[in-house]
Symmetry: C6
Subunit: 72 residues, 6 copies
């Protein structure tokens, strides 16, 4: 856990900010092969938070993310 | 093991502190696909500790965490 | 997330830039054993973005990439 | 391999020191899903050493540890 | 992506340079359990490139390499 | 690839040096679940080299090592 800032100038970080602001649904594929679906509610340097249809939050560690797809 | 501080200003770290303070039950999904359930008792830069129904502690390495869900 | 620059002098980064500029199709093998196919649209320090035949973008975390093959 | 010190102030490191001093048995779950049992004999920044019932040592890389449970 | 140099003094880096210069065939075992065979054509800090019998290049991320064997 | 030294003062590094000097046989368990057996011939910051019964070397990336057992 190095003391660092979230690099808001990077495309990947900015795209997440847009998804949070617009409450868009995304699919997150994880290294365990789980596929989570929900709306992004926040991100920090270590985690992102996904809220599902029942409003339950799941805090996902970035280290475990394989890919992210905005839902069509 | 770089000498570092736990970044208490981050949402993910603060949320864990709240879970510890309130003795809330959580589910932790690990990269081995194990799903642990218990109450968070402490966190540091490398590990979090989960206590199960029999009061047995499990020290989980952060590097192995995929996601965390507060139990409803 | 250390504050860093994309090292544009490295062969691997330059090759990706060429693939983006020339809209070449690539195959990305991921640690989940998924094999994604598409055109590279951007890269930053943490992610690359792949656009498939239906123009749907997938943001792939570099940490999850195993290998990349330009499609013949 | 950055030049670093073992952070003896951290709960997770201190707990391991206690386990070593008291020759307590632990279970170590590894990312390969192996479950090793033994007594901790030393730790450094990169590894911990576990000694089994036949006094055979196993050097485990920290990067491969998922969780640790003191045996009851 | 920290700004770093390829450490050409290390045995593992030097051995790769020799394999590249001598166009030797190698086997690369990857974390997905894939076993790639080919000639090394270049290396940088993040990737190595392997060229197969049909002259098709595969860019392999170092983070995904488990072991390398020179072919006998 | 940060410019770093092999930390020869650490137990895990020293133990490897002893294994190399004494040509002891070891078992290396890897994250792919492979179990390699051989004599250690060298180590650097990123890799260790194992030589098997037919004198064939295998360069193993440290990032892929789970545990090491000296053969009895």
């Amino acid at each position: 856990m190095a003391t660092t800032e979230l690099e808001t100038g990077l495309p990947s970080v900015r795209q997440m900010q847009t998804l949070i602001r617009e409450s868009k649904e995304v699919e997150l594929k994880l290294i365990t092969n789980d596929l989570l679906t929900g709306k992004m509610s926040w991100q920090d340097q270590y985690c992102v938070c996904l809220v599902d249809h029942y409003d339950q939050p799941t805090v996902v560690w970035r280290q475990a993310i394989v890919y992210m797809k905005p839902k069509m």
